[in-house]
Amino acid sequence: MNSMPDVTDPFAGERLKESPFHPRQAALNLRDAWSSWNGYKFADYYYDEEYEYFCIRNSCATYDICPMQKYILSGPDAEAMLNRMVTRDITKLKENRVTYVCWCTDEGRLIDDGTIFKLGADRFLLTCGSPSLAWLRKSAFGFNQLHITDMSDDIAALSLQGPTSCEVLKKMGLQGIENLKPFCISHFPFAGSEDTPLMVSRTGFTGDLGYELWISPDLALEFWDALYRAGENYGIQPYGESATNMARLEAGFIMPGMEFNEALKTIHFQYDQTPFELSLDWLVDFKKPHFNGRNALLKERDQGAEYTLVKLDIEGNKPAEESFLYADEDCSKEIGYVTSAMWSPVVKANIALAMVKTSALKSTIWAEIYYSKELRHHSKVAKCTLQKKPFWAPERARATPPAAF
C-alpha cells in the first residue's frame, strides 16, 4: 500500500499510486511495462501481450481492476436516481445481479458506460472507467435520501478470466461457485471467516468465462496468494492493458478513447457519440418514461444515427488499424473509419470495429490499410464484410456450471 508521501520528494503527489496488488504484480512484471490508469501505476503487459492473451483464452489470467472507479449509492432514493441517470430500466434489476449500463448528457451523448451491482434494495455499486463523481453529484441533485461514497480506493478488485477460472475458484474453496450464473453476485467467507467477505460477480471484459473478485484492500495480498496457489496448475498469469484490449475487441466491447469519446470531455461539437451510433440501442429503454437524454435519443432513434458502429471481417491478414473506409475499391467515397482492429488468433480472422455512415451500410465496404514490412510502407485495399454477432462468444462463457478441468 501507499506510504505517506515523502516530503523530500519534489514530485510527491505527482507519482503514480500503487494498487493493493502491486507488490505481487511488480514481481511478475518482467518487462517493467507500466503505464497508468486513473492515477494508478498500471501494467501494459507483464511478459508478453500475446502470451497473456492466450492465457485468457486457454487457461486463466488476472487483470487488476483496482483503478476502476467504484461508487456505492445507498438510500431510499438510490434506485430512482440511478434510473433517471442511465438509459436502462434498473427497476427490473434483481438483488445480487449486475447489469451493463450507459449514461448520457441531456443531449443524448454518451458520457460513459459501466456496470451497476444491486447489492441490496437500497444499495448499489456503480463501476466505470473514468472518475464520475462530479456527474453523479449533478445527477443526485434533488434526490435527498441518497448517499454517494467513492469507494475507488477502498475496494480491491481483480478480474479472473478464462476457461479454467471457475476451476481455480473451486480449488480456492469457493463452494458452489460453479452454480453462479452470468451477471450474478455471490459472497464467500475469505480465509474461512465471515468477517472478511469476498464478493464474486460473474462478469468481465473479455467475452469469456470469467469472474470479478472484490475484497477489502488490506486482504489483497493474502487473497492474491491464495488465488495464485489455487491457480498454480491452471496456467494463472496476470495480464495487462494490451491483452485486455485484444480480448474485448474479439468480444465486440467498446472502449473509451477508441470507440467513443466521453461526452463530458469532448470539445468539438458532436465529436462524442450517442448510444445509437455505438450500436448500444439495446441499452436504451424507451418504455421507461424518463431518463437523461431521452428526448434527444428519441429524436435520433426516429431520424436514424448518422454513423453506426459495426463489426468488420476484413479480407487478408493485415490489421486495419486507423484505416479509412470507402464505398468503392478506388477509395473515392469515404464512408467511415476503423476504431479498433487486430488479427484475431482465436477466430483466425482479420477483425475490426468501425464507425460507418449508416446510409452506406448497404453497399460494399472497403478499407484502405497501411502496413509496414521490415521498414517499408505498403498499402492495400481490402474488402470488408459486416458481421452481426460478436467475433468471439464461446458457449463456456454462459455455461452453468462451466466445464471442470
Binding site: 441531456d106 441533485f141 434533488g142 428526448n295
Partner: protein, 519 residues
C-alpha cells in the same frame, strides 16, 4: 374529476393576464393562488388594522398592449395621466426633482444634458419595446419566426443609424456609474437616475451587466419610465385584471396552494397532467401554466427526477436571492420631509452613487446596509382607502437587504434593521418617529415565505445578461414551453422579466395559443 384546458399556478398579475388571454380564446382556465389575495407582490394587504399597502407600490412599465387587448379600462382600470415626481432627497432640503422631462435642483449644464440624455434613452427604449412582447428565438434553432425576430432586432438596431447603434452597443451593458459620470455632475441626480436600473437586482452602480438594459426595459411604459399610480392605487389595476379574468370565464381560487405538478409517465414520455393541492385534491388539465418562479416550479413542484440532469442543475444555479426589503409604516399624519411641501412623489434616499455602492458592499457579504438607501412613497395620498381618514401609510423599498443574512433573520436582526431605517427616515423627516402607529419590515426572507417566492426576489430570477432574453430562465425553457410537454411558464422568471409589466403572461399565452393551432 373535473378537467380544465389550463391550470394557472399563481394569481399574480402575470398569472391573471395569461389566464385571461387563454379564456378569451374559449379555453377553460382554472387559476390557483396560494395566498388569500390576488396580485402576488402587488396584493394590497392590511398590515395593521385600518392600514393597507401592496409590496409593489408604483407602476412604471405596465404594458399598454395588455391594457388595450384585455380591455382593462372597461374593467375598471383608471391609469393616471399624471406621473409621480421622482425626488432625490437632500438632508438640507435642497432636493433634486425629476418631473417628466424637467429637473430642478441641479445646475444648468445637468438640465441641458438631461434633455439630450432622455432623447437618446427614449430612442433606445422605443427600439427595444417590441421585443419585450415577443417570444425570444430558440438558441440553435433556425425556424422562420426565430430568424425573423433576430432579423427585426438587427434591422431596428441598424435603423438607429451608425452612430446611435454604436452608442447603444456601448452603453447597453455599461455600469450605471459610467453612464452617470459621463453625463452629470450632481451626485443626487446621478443616484436617482440610476435607481431604476438597480432596484430589485443584486447590482450596484459599479456592476457591469444589465443595469442600462433594465432602465430601458422600465422605460417601455406609457410614461417612458416615470412612475405613476392609478386612481385607487395598485389595487385598482389588480381588480381590473381580476374582473377581466372573471369576465373571460376564468375560474379563480385563492387559498389554494399547489403542492406538486402531476407528471404522468408512459412509454411516450412524461407530460404534465394537472396539479395536486396541499390538501390532497387532484385537479387535471391539458396544460399547467406556472407563474411561480422557475426554481419553485421545477425543483419543488415538478421535481428533479422528472427533469434532465444538466437542465436541473442550470435551474438550481439560477441567481434568485432578493436584496430588497419592504418597510410599511402606519402614520398618524403625513410625514414632513425637510424642504418638501407635499410628500406626494417618489422620494429616494441615496445622496450619491457611492451611498448605493457602499450599501451594496455590506449586503454582498451577508449584512444589511449600515446606511440603507430607499425609495419611499405615501400611497395613501393617492388612494385614501389605504389608511383611516387623516392618517397615512408610508411604503418604502429598502436596498440592500440580503435574503440570507449572516447569522439568520432573528427578531433582534429585524429590530436592528427596523431601527436603522427609522433613524434614516428621521434624519430626512424629523418627527416621523413620533408619527408611527405601527411599523413592519418584510425582508426578502419574509417575501419568500409569504408569497412562495424563491429568495424573495422581485423578478423571480436576477435580471442579468446571463438570465435575460433567450436565456431566461435558461435555454430549453426560454420560450414559455418547458422540457415537459403540457408545462408552460408565464411568470417574471421568463422573458421579459419582472416588475408590474405583464409581458411574460402575455407572451406565454400567445405561445400556448400558437402551439395549439399547430396541433
Amino acid at each position: 374529476m373535473q378537467t380544465y384546458d389550463n391550470i394557472i399556478i399563481g394569481g399574480g398579475h402575470n398569472g391573471l393576464i395569461c389566464a385571461t388571454y387563454l379564456a378569451q380564446k374559449g379555453q377553460s382556465v382554472l387559476l390557483l393562488e396560494a395566498t388569500d389575495g390576488l396580485g402576488g407582490l402587488a396584493t394590497t394587504r392590511e398590515f395593521y388594522p385600518g392600514f393597507r399597502a401592496p409590496v409593489a407600490h408604483s407602476l412604471s412599465h405596465f404594458s399598454e398592449t395588455v391594457v388595450e387587448q384585455l380591455n382593462l379600462l372597461k374593467h375598471g382600470y383608471t391609469p393616471s395621466s399624471e406621473v409621480l415626481d421622482t425626488i432625490g432627497l437632500n438632508l438640507n432640503g435642497e432636493h433634486v426633482v425629476v418631473s417628466g422631462e424637467h429637473i430642478s435642483g441641479v445646475n444648468k449644464a445637468d438640465q441641458q444634458t438631461y434633455a439630450d440624455y432622455l432623447v437618446l434613452l427614449k430612442r433606445f427604449a422605443k427600439m427595444l419595446k417590441p421585443f419585450w412582447l415577443k417570444t425570444m428565438p430558440r438558441i440553435g434553432d433556425n425556424s422562420f419566426p426565430d430568424l425573423m425576430t433576430f432579423g427585426q432586432l438587427g434591422l431596428k438596431l441598424r435603423l438607429l443609424g451608425k452612430k446611435d447603434m454604436g452608442e447603444f452597443m456601448r452603453v447597453a451593458t455599461l455600469p450605471a456609474r459610467d453612464l452617470m459620470d459621463e453625463n452629470f455632475d450632481n451626485d443626487i441626480l446621478k443616484a436617482v437616475l440610476s435607481w431604476d436600473g438597480l432596484i430589485g437586482s443584486k447590482m450596484a452602480p459599479r456592476s457591469p451587466n444589465a443595469t442600462v438594459l433594465n432602465m430601458l426595459y422600465r422605460m417601455s411604459g406609457k410614461h417612458h419610465g416615470a412612475h405613476s399610480l392609478p386612481e385607487g392605487g395598485i389595487q385598482n389595476l389588480i381588480s381590473a385584471l381580476h374582473n377581466a379574468a372573471l369576465d373571460a370565464g376564468v375560474t379563480v381560487k385563492t387559498g389554494a396552494l399547489v403542492k406538486r405538478i402531476v407528471i404522468k409517465g408512459s412509454s411516450s414520455g412524461l407530460a404534465a397532467t394537472g396539479v395536486e393541492l396541499a390538501d390532497g385534491t387532484l385537479i387535471s388539465s391539458a396544460r399547467v401554466v406556472s407563474s411561480a418562479d422557475p426554481k419553485q416550479t421545477f425543483l419543488n413542484l415538478v421535481g428533479a427526477n422528472n427533469l434532465e440532469i444538466g437542465f436541473t442543475n442550470r435551474i438550481n444555479r439560477l441567481r434568485c436571492d432578493g436584496y430588497v426589503a419592504k418597510l410599511h409604516l402606519a402614520l398618524d399624519g403625513a410625514p414632513k420631509f425637510t424642504g418638501l411641501k407635499n410628500p406626494n412623489g417618489r422620494m429616494i434616499i441615496a445622496p450619491k452613487l457611492d451611498a448605493i455602492e457602499f450599501a451594496f458592499d455590506d449586503a454582498k457579504y451577508g449584512e444589511y446596509s449600515k446606511s440603507p438607501v430607499m425609495e419611499i412613497i405615501i400611497p395613501s395620498m393617492v388612494d385614501n382607502l389605504l389608511a383611516p381618514k387623516g392618517q397615512q401609510v408610508l411604503s418604502a423599498h429598502v436596498m440592500y437587504v440580503p435574503h440570507k443574512l449572516k447569522g439568520g433573520w432573528t427578531d433582534e436582526a429585524r429590530q436592528n434593521l427596523y431601527q436603522r431605517l427609522i433613524d434614516t427616515l428621521e434624519s430626512y423627516a424629523p418627527g416621523i418617529r413620533q408619527q408611527i402607529i405601527h411599523g413592519e419590515i418584510l425582508t426578502p426572507a419574509d417575501l419568500e415565505q409569504t408569497y412562495h417566492l424563491t429568495g424573495g426576489h422581485w423578478h423571480h430570477a436576477e435580471l442579468s445578461m446571463d438570465q435575460m432574453l433567450m436565456m431566461r430562465p435558461t435555454y430549453e425553457a426560454a420560450q414559455y414551453s418547458t422540457p415537459i410537454p403540457g408545462l408552460y411558464l408565464c411568470g417574471a422568471g421568463s422573458h421579459p422579466g419582472g416588475g408590474l409589466m405583464g409581458g411574460p403572461g402575455h407572451n406565454a399565452a400567445k405561445e400556448i395559443i400558437g402551439a395549439k393551432k399547430e396541433l
